[in-house]
Subunit: 280 residues, 2 copies
């Protein structure tokens, strides 16, 4: 018998991946959580029928949601990850010696548990002494912690289910208040092929809250279209104006290095155009 | 009834895409040729069961196999495309006013016919007066045309079936002889995720034939892993040393612009490492 995991990433297109076995299935308080072992990408976490992370390509997403902002801020000491229960973004945050505290605000404790059981290389850093795990609603946590963080990473699921509020302007306003006066945020913002309206809306919302707004991309094979976008909102530091000499080379990365820090902002024309609605 | 096209891009992973209807099927002298109409990507050409091009994302591949080399050469007049029967690379080549002649050496005339019937926006330029269509074996054509071209683009199918010879060192030696003394070549060289040994071998082969060898990538959703590589061999001009002021902005492109001319060579670490075999 052959088992294949098939995900309709849009109503009309998707990926299919051969699996060795199913490892875990549960309905948590917030979402359906599945762990499967695939032949191509190793263990795969699936939330509400969508790939969240896999052993083989997780490094792209986790490095790229983290290092652009972390390396733009000159001295990130307090960092918050909203969502990101698998622990991958926290692992990348901890590569910076300046970090004193890294808070994980994940709404679904079952995601953290599953990551610790099935993705030890991703979740391993969650036991680090600098990590403070808060199983709570990120929106509420932000509201209760003002003027506190140097960097906030919004490592959310898709904009349906529990993460809807994480793609709305009031949330970005809350993040701005939770950041210090020179703080910087980044959010994962979906595919430039399949989510053009969403990216445009988020970019507009963030640019109304932060003086510096930037979009960049990375290539992630198990995510829809293979091309993924991230949006930065920054109060003071512009990732494009960082002195390349001062960039840290985080040890152990496999995608990010200082040489790509600026190049990832060089967007293909069709991605530039989605920000303005041109070419739609 | 729902029809889905499913392609195993590797033995264990692939894409699946809903189709409106099948438009064409034939066994040519060289390969199986299918045209289907998909919901997500418009018309799709499939050769031997692998996506070659689609209406929606063809621009990425065709622009990116063409403009880096064309814009690196200061005055490309004679250009050869090996393979590329759909005409997309020729269309991009003709965006340069310097071009006097663009030869298409495609082994399978049925691919050209099908492109003209089902992909008018891709194949439309094949009727341009500067285009010389040669339905012939590219390897043979190269051997018969020495010291003739400024730029040669190797727009091949996968390295199985009719295209095997296009991924081997003697072919690159032949290309070097078919190029003028300041000529430049580029070849499509598959996915950095799924074809690491192939890319490494081709890079080594080309670097033994050309003094300047460079690898760059582009994001193509319907190709395996969504990340695609191209390898440049150049006798004189280095794409990384081109004066950005002198780069042409080809009219009508949707991916390429002079701003990404250098940034696409900034490779993620895991792609850099495949060239040396490190991290395997």
């Amino acid at each position: 018998m052959e088992l294949w995991y098939t995900e309709k990433q849009t109503p009309n297109h998707g990926i299919t991946s051969k699996i060795k076995r199913t490892l875990h299935h549960e309905q948590t308080e917030f979402q359906k959580l599945d762990i499967i072992e695939t032949e191509q990408f190793g263990n795969m976490m699936v939330l509400d029928g969508m790939v969240m992370t896999t052993d083989q390509d997780e490094f792209v997403y986790h490095e790229m949601i983290t290092h652009i902002a972390m390396n733009t801020h000159p001295n990130p000491r307090n960092v918050l990850v909203v969502g990101g229960g698998d622990g991958g973004a926290i692992r990348e945050v901890l590569r910076y010696p300046s970090v004193e505290k890294a808070v994980l605000a994940e709404i679904d404790g079952k995601v953290i548990e599953a990551a610790q059981n099935y993705f030890p290389k991703i979740a391993g850093s969650l036991t680090d002494a600098r990590v403070d795990i808060q199983v709570t609603d990120g929106i509420q946590y932000i509201a209760e912690n003002k003027n506190k963080f140097d960097v906030i990473l919004v490592d959310s699921t898709e904009p349906i289910g529990p993460a809807i509020g994480l793609f709305q302007k009031p949330f970005y306003e809350g993040i701005a208040e939770a950041l210090k006066e020179d703080g910087i945020m980044v959010a994962q913002t979906e595919s430039p092929w399949f989510n053009r309206d969403l990216i445009r809306q988020v970019f507009q919302d963030i640019s109304q809250v932060f003086p510096i707004t930037r979009l960049y991309t990375a290539s992630i094979p198990t995510y829809p279209s293979g091309l993924w976008s991230f949006t930065i909102g920054s109060k003071k530091y512009d990732p494009l104006k960082v002195d390349e000499e001062k960039l840290i080379s985080p040890l152990g990365t496999r995608y990010y290095h200082p040489g790509i820090h600026r190049s990832v902002f060089q967007l293909p024309i069709f991605v530039q155009e989605l920000l303005t609605g041109k070419g739609e």
